[in-house]
């Protein structure tokens, strides 16, 4: 189940408050500013900084 738009509209990165983009293929919520990727487990966003991975450059 994709993340609802009304949820995406209010989500920000908990680390830098950057905007969040949902990557449907990888099922992650990605910060467009600091490039952290937050997992979605069992349809629930896990917006914990310690659970995030950081996307590699390029």
């Amino acid at each position: 189940m994709p993340i609802k738009k009304e949820l995406l509209d209010i989500l920000v990165c908990p680390a830098c408050h950057g905007d969040i983009h949902y990557d449907e293929a990888k099922n992650t919520l990605n910060c467009v500013k600091c490039r952290r990727r937050y997992p979605v487990k069992d349809d629930i966003p896990v917006m914990l900084v310690e659970e995030a991975t950081v996307a590699e450059e390029g």
């Binding site: 949820l7 509209d9 989500l11 920000v12 908990p14 069992d42 966003p45 914990l48």
Partner: protein, 209 residues
């Protein structure tokens, strides 16, 4: 209300407690009803929603409002998910939520567990809209213990719930003012002090004129 207890204590589940019924459950319902009466606006956050009993009540009571629960404990999150409740796994100290995104925030039996209450109240202030309300419910530990003893609930009476401090209206109001809030209402339930089991404080984020 995390489910984890103190040293060497078997966990007490909130839903398990609630399912026991009796006067405990009646009081639980009374406490929730007293709290929900202070809600204002359409967008509601249950901060530290635990196993989601109050969150479920919010969803049921206010089908037209936008409701969200947040909890740091993945076990609580999966219980909420199991009950079909709208939740996010996040830390109250670093909420993944836009500024001014909510009209009412409930902090139900959470503040007594917090290691960094000031930081968390400031974070809640950030996500609360001007004119919005933060509704805090905190237990009176001594009153709760006495009530449980009277009701012969021995296990709960001596359960160590990891409360880090006993808040009062004065100490909590002071911290709220320091975090930018103003205090609109205080209420002791079910009766006045010293027969208080919980305190309710309704704090507001003033509109900037």
């Amino acid at each position: 209300m995390p489910v984890t207890g103190g040293k060497g204590v078997v966990e007490l589940s909130q839903r398990g407690q609630y399912a026991l019924g009796g006067i405990g459950r009646q009081y639980w319902d009374f406490r929730d009803n007293a709290t929900l009466g202070y809600i204002t606006g359409r967008r509601i956050l249950d901060a530290g929603c635990g196993e989601g009993i109050t969150l479920g009540r919010l969803v049921e009571r206010f089908p037209d409002k936008k409701i969200m629960g947040v909890d740091v404990d993945p076990k609580n999150i999966s219980i909420c998910k199991h009950h079909g409740l709208p939740v996010l796994n996040a830390h109250l100290q670093a909420l993944p939520l836009m500024d001014e995104a909510f009209d009412s925030i409930i902090l139900m039996e959470v503040i007594e567990h917090l290691e960094t209450p000031r930081k968390i109240l400031k974070e809640l202030f950030r996500v609360l809209a001007p004119g919005g309300r933060l509704i805090i419910v905190f237990p009176n530990d001594m009153g709760m213990m006495m009530a449980r003893l009277v009701c012969l609930r021995w296990r709960e009476a001596f359960f160590d719930p990891c409360h880090l401090r006993q808040w009062g209206f004065r100490t909590l109001s002071k911290l709220l003012y320091e975090c930018g809030f103003s205090v609109a209402h205080t209420r002791s339930i079910p009766l006045f002090i010293p027969f208080m089991l919980h305190g309710i404080i309704v704090a507001e984020r003033k509109k900037v004129s």
